[in-house]
């Protein structure tokens, strides 16, 4: 399968098509509305399911297999927010607060992009490490903390304590970490009992989620003009850089073609659940138009459509594949 074929497979996957349908719905001003309760339910479901699967896999993974990928992930979680922050300050001339706010998003992970990447790997029949969901939890938190620390160092005070509490008690981390613990304790045996809800329908649920995300992303498109050309470019180039970094570190850590690809996608993705919540508390002065438009209106669609096959091609190339 060459890269073009991969691109075709990805663009014609139900998930990406649902995203396109969501965008269309907003552009033609359809009265289609995903109920808030459904959106919240889907978020809870996805985060819990990711956690459960990761935890169950973890319970059968020897530590010797895990520590290198975990370390690579930790390194990514430190490097990527610093990289973003520097680029935004130096090249983009953003002020401290907004640069830190955006960096928190790009350092962290988008759970849906992660899921889309693993669904793509399944469709391309490429096996991946079972413990990958655990890495999501490792990558999500530190990046946000680091970005907030930067802002705080530069600004003087700020309620960092509350922000940290908010991040850890925030539903996103709570479900991810809680789900992982549940999966770890219940083990593969326990997971099997609830597989008809938390495993089998996973990719189908993703379709509903992306329908909604398409609608939301399309609303962001209107703000593209406001945020300026630099941020749009940033939203495309930075994922490529961080994605390459992720794939490379993953490969160094001995991960498989598929695993390194997913780690790269995680690094490339920008959070839009945990990070906005934390930033809103710790840096209320930051302008949400910047960080939401960049992460949702630019980076998310880019990763979903082009990024995912690119990171895969890269991983195959780094692993000496075709």
């Amino acid at each position: 399968m060459d890269t073009l074929e991969l691109l075709r497979i990805n663009l014609l996957s139900p998930a990406v098509l649902a995203f396109a349908l969501g965008i269309t719905a907003t552009l033609v001003k359809s009265d289609l509305k995903i109920p808030d309760a459904l959106y919240t339910t889907l978020s809870i479901y996805l985060l819990l399911a990711i956690g459960l699967k990761g935890g169950a896999a973890l319970s059968t993974t020897p530590f010797t297999e895990l520590w290198k990928p975990a370390l690579a992930t930790l390194i990514l979680s430190v490097l990527t927010p610093l990289l973003s922050y520097t680029a935004l300050r130096r090249l983009g001339r953003f002020d401290v607060v907004n640069a830190a706010a955006i960096a928190a998003h790009y350092g962290s992970v988008s759970a849906v992009t992660f899921v889309a990447a693993t669904a793509f790997m399944q469709a391309a029949q490429q096996p991946v490490e079972g413990f990958l969901p655990t890495l999501v939890a490792i990558l999500e938190v530190p990046a946000i903390v680091i970005a907030l620390l930067i802002a705080r160092r530069n600004l003087g005070e700020g309620s960092l304590g509350e922000a940290l509490r908010e991040i850890f008690a925030g539903k996103s981390i709570l479900l991810l970490v809680g789900g992982s613990l549940m999966g770890f304790l219940a083990g593969p045996e326990g997971l099997k009992q609830i597989a008809p809800v938390f495993v089998d329908p996973f990719r189908g649920v993703l379709v509903l989620f992306l329908l909604e995300l398409g609608m939301v992303a399309a609303k962001r498109f209107r703000d593209l003009r406001t945020v300026g050309v630099f941020l749009i470019g940033f939203g495309i180039v930075m994922p490529l850089i961080q994605g390459a970094l992720g794939v490379w570190l993953g490969s160094l850590a001995g991960m498989s073609v598929g695993g390194a690809m997913v780690l790269g996608t995680m690094a490339a993705s920008a959070s839009y659940i945990a990070a906005p919540a934390a930033v809103r508390i710790a840096l209320p002065q930051a302008n949400p138009s910047y960080y939401l438009t960049a992460s949702l209106g630019v980076t998310f669609p880019f990763n979903l459509t082009l990024g995912i096959p690119i990171y895969f091609a890269l991983s195959r190339w780094l692993h000496g594949g075709s």
Binding site: A277, R280, Q285, P288, S289, L292
Partner: protein, 100 residues
């Protein structure tokens, strides 16, 4: 039926402020409050709240002096950085002592 005149303070704010605002109005003397879900647009653009649920509409019946304290507190701490508005009306209630 003896009716008592009191103030109804309505606050419309981004959803993630809910816990904070409830704590504030309680501390300033409100004996109760009611929240309804809401959505809306004002002078601010995008808000994080789109991602954390929508707006809330918080109502509390209080004495005039508490109403003033609530507005002052909102003006001091919230109006600058958050999407929040507030307004005050006169209402008449039975059992006036319940609210003060």
């Amino acid at each position: 039926m003896a009716l008592v005149s009191l103030k109804l303070v309505t606050i419309i704010a981004e959803g993630f402020l809910e816990e904070k605002l409830v704590r504030e109005v309680r501390k300033l003397g409100a004996k109760g409050y009611t929240i309804t879900p809401a959505r809306g647009e004002g002078s601010r653009g995008v808000r994080a709240s789109e991602w954390e649920g929508n707006n809330i509409r918080l109502e509390t019946i209080v004495s005039p002096s508490v109403a003033e304290k609530i507005l002052n507190r909102l003006a001091e701490v919230y109006f600058a950085n958050y999407a929040v508005i507030a307004f005050v009306e006169n209402v008449e209630v039975v059992r006036g002592e319940k609210y003060t």
